[in-house]
Symmetry: C2
Subunit: 192 residues, 2 copies
DNA sequence: CGGGTTTTGAAGCGACTGATTCAAAACGAG
DNA sequence: CTCGTTTTGAATCAGTCGCTTCAAAACCCG
């Protein structure tokens, strides 16, 4: 065998995710990545191939961790509407946190690169589809429990929730008034 | 007096808008701007100051032209719901046009820069607020005409429409199936 | 047409871009 | 301990970044 790596690949990808998440793809230089990961350029390129490949790995990591936590929240305790509300409010508060200010990495990637890079588009779509599927399941539960009117297709309702949700995350980038965003969340759920 | 300019400032800003719109701020170089505007770097910097200032001017231009056209559509003929539907469908079709693929410049700016540049945030917020105000007016008309239930605050309804609308524009970046997006538009309007 | 003013194109500034090279270092297997 | 393999850091590649300089060109006014 040969010399083992001095770094943890998972930690490196997580650090790269944070950097890409905050500064975008074009806004992140390879030096930025070396600084945030602690790797030298040769290690970085030897391990991952290049900036683009690392970006795709970072997007995957976002899907596994942040989106994963969102999914778990949707599958957690509480009524259907409680869980949908929790998902949206968690994001609203994250978007309004001044020390955060990164928004949703998947949405950022969709806006910056989905139109230019088919691989990015594919990964983002998988992310969105996964959320839609889980929201649909929650809506279905709500309908079964009589909490949400069952006269509409659960998937259609889920897409409505999803659109509003992503729209809120866009508005959260320029809207500082939390009450306005929370009111929209409540209105959305009331009308299901 | 002195030597007059050989270019039309409006045309230059429009060309810069197209370039920034398609490639983003970080994805656009000063060379790209020189190529698309036809100006030399000295003329460009002498006239506008720099890349960032030109970007802000381009955002203003988007507000005046594209958003302006949207506003006019909202103020045009047809029922309230017809006009809201027209606004959303126009954007859906624009987002799905493969030769276009730029999305909404204001949303792009919000995602890429609103968290990093207070001036960009201000301009985007003005854009969003203007749309919200106009949608609110249309909702109000719909309520006065008995087309939309009047038991809800028109502004709250407008914010709901706006969130869904911006969410659709995000989804439009990765969702190729027009029917899915159109169905969400219809569902949104049905539920007002 | 001369004088004053502005714009223009070409050249280039230092800094940084993504990426590569390469020898030294660090290991496990025999 | 040696060999074969892999990783690492340092140095550096050509190219591009945003931006500036400057003299020549282009104009209007008198």
């Amino acid at each position: 065998m040969a010399r083992p790596r001095q770094f943890d690949e998972d930690r490196v990808i997580t650090a790269a995710m944070e950097t890409f998440w905050r500064h975008g793809y074009e806004g992140t230089s390879t030096r930025d990545l070396c600084d945030s990961t602690g790797l030298g350029p040769s290690s970085l390129y030897n391990t991952f191939g290049g900036k683009r490949e690392l970006y795709l790995r970072a997007l995957d990591r976002y899907y596994e961790t942040v989106t994963g936590a969102q999914i778990e929240r949707l599958q957690g305790p509480g009524t259907a509407k409680d869980r949908l509300r929790a998902m949206m409010l968690t994001s609203v508060d994250s978007d309004l946190d001044a020390d955060d200010g990164r928004g949703c990495f998947a949405i950022n990637a969709a806006i910056e690169l989905a139109g230019l890079d088919a691989d990015v588009k594919r990964v983002v779509r998988r992310n969105f589809t996964r959320v839609e599927d889980e929201v649909r399941a929650v809506v279905q539960e709500g309908q079964d429990a009589g909490e949400i009117p069952a006269d509409r297709d659960a998937r259609a309702v889920a897409r409505l929730v999803q659109s509003t949700y992503y729209g809120l995350r866009v508005l959260g980038r320029v809207q500082d008034d939390r009450d306005v965003l929370v009111a929209t969340v409540d209105d959305t759920l009331e009308r299901l």
